[in-house]
Symmetry: C2
Subunit: 446 residues, 2 copies
C-alpha cells in the first residue's frame, strides 16, 4: 500500500488548522458506521479493517506534501511545522475483518487528539465503505449460488485498479472461490482461474479447431467457450474434443456459456454432454450475472457448476456506494450527537454485544456504552494503542472463514436475496439516557 | 502509475500461450468501443487515453511475475521464456482524450501480433471504461448546473483510491472546477477546495463560536457550514460573523447547506444574507446531489452558486460500469465479427469521420473502413508506432478544454438530463458490404 496521508479531503486539513489555531486539540472519539442497508440486503460483512489499521499507523506528511500545502497559500507556517511531526498516537477499536455487522453499529471507534481522530475520516471511509460493500455483495452472490462455485470476473468493469484488486480480495472474503485477476492472485494469494475469450475462438476458421488447439495447450485445465456461434453446436463440438482428449488419457474440465438463456441452454448442454458419456464435464456460465439471476437459475435447477460474476459483484451495482459515515460521538465536553434531519447519530463511547440462541444462531445485538455491560461477545476489539498496531494481522483465508461462519449463523430470512425481516440491534438504556440528556440540553440552548 | 502488466485476466495469458503454442501469433486488429449509452445519456467523453498509452508502452513481465505464473503449474517453460521478452511492438490509434464519442465507435484500435493485441484487452477496458464513465457523468452534472460551479467531493464514497484519484481527474475533464481530494490536486494539478464538517461545528458549544474560530483561522477562504442545528438560524449566525469580518476588512466567501430542502432553504438563506447586506456571500450546497436534482434546482431558480457532488459523480451511480468491450475485427484471414445474440460487432479496420453543420455544430459521424474516405475530421489518430508513443502527451487543462468545446458543439437535445434523440452514427457502404460477405460465409460454414 502506497502512503495515503494526502488521500484526504482538503477540509480535514483546514479543520485541523482550525483546531490547532483555536486550542481545540483535546481528546475526542469518533465512530465509523453505516447508516442503512441497501434495498434487499440483510447484513454487512465488514472489510477493509486490516488496510485501515495499516493506514492509521503509517500517517506521515512528507516534505513534498507540506510544500504542496504551502503553495495553496492558506496555511500558516506554524501549522505546516505541526504537520511535519503529525502522527497518529491514539487508540482504535475495530470489529474483526470479516465480521457480520448491521446499520448504526460502530465498525471502528477512534479516540485520539481531535486533529488526529478527525483526520482519519475520509480515508477510512474510502477503504471501509468500498471493501465492506464488495464483501457483502459477494456474500449475497455466493449464498444465492447455493453451493455452486462463484468466480470473481470483474477486472475489466471495476472502477480502476484498486477497486479491482481490493474488490477481488473482498469478494474472496465474501466467499468467491477464485478470481480472474492475476495481480490480485499474486498480491493476496487468491486462487486464479481463466479460460479463453470469443476472440480466441474467432481466430480459427472453424470453432472445433480452436477447441482442439486450446485443449492441446492445456490438457489438464481446459474449459471451452461454446457460445460464439451456436451454443448447442458448440457443445457438440466440445464433446467431440472431449472424446479425443479421453483417447489421450485427458479430461475436459468444462464448457462455458456466456450469452443467451442460461437456464434453457445449460439444460440443453448438460443433455448433450451426458448423451456423449461426459457427465464429468462441468458447466460454467457468465454474462451479466448477479444474485437475483443466480437465485432464479438455482430455483429452476439449472445444471450449472460455477458462476463467473463480473460487473455487478465488483461494483456492487446497483448499490454503487454504502452510506458509511464517521461521526464525533464524545469529546472533553461530554457526549455529542448531530441533529440534522435524517442524519442523527448515537452519542457516547460505545461497544456492541452479540447474543446467540441455544442453537448457536445469532439472536440480536446490543449497542451499549463502553463498560455498561460485562461479558457476552463484544465486537469491538483494540487494534491500535498509542498509535501502534496491537491486533494480530490476520490471514486472508482466516478472514474468509470467519465471514463464512458468521453468515452461517445468521437468521435465515436475512440471507434471502430479498432479505426478510431486519436483525434486531437494541440500544442500551445508557445510550437512551444520554440522548434524552442531549435533547434537553439542545432544546435549552436553542 | 505502477506497472500494470499483471493487472489482467488469467485468460489473456492462457490464450497467449494457446496462440504461441499453435503458431497463431500473426497480426490482428482489435477495436475498443462501448456498446451502448446508459439510460438518459446522449454522449460519452472519452477518458483514460493517456493512461492507456502509458500502459501499452510499459508492458513487461518481471522475474517475480514469471515465477508466480510458473507456480500455477499450467504453463510450459518455453512459454514462460517467451513472456520474459514480451513487449508491445504494434500500432495503436486512439481518439484524443476528451473527445465526444458515441456507441460502437472505436475509441482505440490496436494492430499487433495477436498475443500482444489480445493481451491489452482487460487492462485497457479497466482504465477506459471507468475514466470515460466518470468524465461523461461529470459532463452531465456540469451541464445541468448551467453555469454554477461543480466541485468533486466523492473521495469517501469512491471505489477505493484509484477510483478517487482518476475519478477526480476525469471529473475535471468533464468540467468540474475543483476537487476536495488533496492527493488528486497534488498529482494532477487540479484546484482543491474544502471547508469544514459538522464535527467541527459540534466541537464548540455554540455554533457561532465555531464560525468565529474558523473565520479567524481562514480570513480569506471561509465557507461556513450552517445546517448542523437549524439552517436559518445558522445563516443568521453566519451573517453576524460576516459583519464582524467586514469590520476587520475581511469578507466571508460563503455558506454551505448539506441537508434538507435545498431549493427552499437556499432561497431563505439568500434572503437572510441579502437583508444583512451580504449579497456577495455565496451559497454552496451538497447532500447526495446528481444531475437530475441539480437540473431541478436550476429550473426553480434556486440561488445556488456552487454544487458539491460526491457519491453519484465519483461512482456514476446508477450506471456503475460502461459496457465497453474490445473485439477482434480483422486478422490475416480477413475481417471478423461475432454473431452471439446481442453482441454483434462491426468488422474491419475502421476510422470514424465527423461532419459539422455550417453553424459549427456536430451533424453526424460515419464509421468507415480505414481509407474508404478522404478528408473530413477523422477521430482516430496514431498514438503508438512500433510500440513507441508517437502522440504528444497532452496537458490535463488542454484535455478539459477540448471536452468542453466538444460538448458545446453537440446537438442541444443530447445535452438534456434526459437526452432527447440519438446522435446519428452512419455505417459506411464498405462496412455493410463486409458484413454481408461475412454473413454469407458464416451461413455456408454453418
Amino acid at each position: 500500500m502506497g502512503n495515503k496521508t494526502m488521500l484526504t479531503d482538503l477540509y480535514q486539513i483546514t479543520m485541523m488548522a482550525g483546531y490547532v489555531d483555536n486550542q481545540k486539540d483535546d481528546v475526542a472519539t469518533f465512530d465509523l458506521f453505516i447508516r442503512d442497508l441497501p434495498k434487499d440486503w440483510g447484513y454487512f460483512i465488514a472489510a477493509g479493517i486490516e488496510d485501515a489499521v495499516d493506514y492509521i499507523t503509517s500517517i506521515k506528511f512528507t516534505g513534498n506534501d507540506i510544500d504542496y500545502l504551502r503553495q495553496q497559500g492558506i496555511f500558516e507556517d506554524s501549522f505546516l511545522s505541526f504537520l511535519k511531526d503529525f502522527r497518529f498516537t491514539g487508540e482504535v477499536y475495530a470489529v474483526k475483518e470479516g465480521s457480520v455487522v448491521f446499520p448504526n453499529e460502530p465498525i471502528m471507534r477512534v479516540t485520539a487528539n481531535r486533529t488526529q481522530a478527525q483526520f482519519l475520516e475520509t480515508t477510512l471511509l474510502n477503504m471501509i465503505n468500498f471493501q465492506t460493500m464488495i464483501a457483502s455483495k459477494a456474500s449475497r452472490v455466493v449464498d444465492a449460488a447455493s453451493g455452486a462455485s462463484v468466480i470473481e470476473f470483474g477486472l475489466r468493469r471495476a472502477q480502476e485498479e484498486d477497486a479491482a484488486l481490493k474488490g477481488a480480495r473482498a469478494a474472496y472474503i465474501g466467499g468467491a472461490v477464485s478470481t480472474s485477476n492475476v495481480k490480485a492472485g499474486m498480491q493476496y494469494g487468491i486462487p486464479i482461474s481463466g479460460t479463453q475469450a470469443h476472440s480466441f475462438i474467432m481466430s480459427y476458421d472453424d470453432e472445433i479447431d480452436a477447441f482442439r488447439a486450446y485443449a492441446r495447450t492445456f490438457p489438464k485445465k481446459s474449459i471451452l467457450l461454446i457460445d460464439t456461434y451456436n451454443t448447442c453446436e458448440g457443445a457438440r463440438k466440445a464433446a467431440v474434443v472431449a472424446k479425443e482428449m479421453e483417447m489421450r488419457g485427458e479430461k475436459l474440465v468444462g464448457v462455458r456459456l456466456d450469452s443467451g438463456d442460461l437456464d434453457h441452454l445449460s439444460k440443453r448442454v448438460r443433455s448433450i454432454l451426458n448423451e456423449e458419456g461426459l457427465p464429468y464435464v462441468k458447466i460454467f456460465v457468465s454474462n451479466d450475472l448477479n444474485e437475483y439471476k443466480i437465485a432464479g437459475l438455482v430455483q429452476n435447477h439449472a445444471p450449472i457448476d460455477a458462476y463467473g460474476v463480473g460487473t455487478e459483484m465488483i461494483t456492487a451495482k446497483p448499490v454503487s456506494a454504502l452510506p458509511g459515515v464517521y461521526k464525533l460521538v464524545e469529546d472533553v465536553d461530554g457526549p455529542k450527537m448531530k441533529f440534522s434531519p435524517g442524519k442523527l447519530t448515537y452519542p457516547g463511547v460505545k461497544q456492541v454485544y452479540r447474543a446467540y440462541g441455544d442453537d448457536g444462531m445469532m439472536q440480536y445485538d446490543i449497542m451499549a456504552l463502553d463498560g455498561e455491560f460485562e461479558g457476552g461477545e463484544s465486537l469491538l476489539e483494540q487494534a491500535v494503542s498509542n498509535g501502534k498496531r496491537v491486533s494480530t494481522r490476520r490471514e486472508l483465508s482466516e478472514i474468509r472463514q470467519y465471514a463464512l461462519e458468521g453468515v452461517s449463523r445468521l437468521p435465515h430470512g436475512l440471507r434471502c436475496v430479498e432479505a426478510v425481516g431486519r436483525y434486531e440491534v437494541k440500544v442500551s438504556e445508557g445510550i437512551h439516557g444520554m440522548i434524552a440528556g442531549l435533547n434537553a440540553r439542545y432544546s435549552l440552548v436553542k
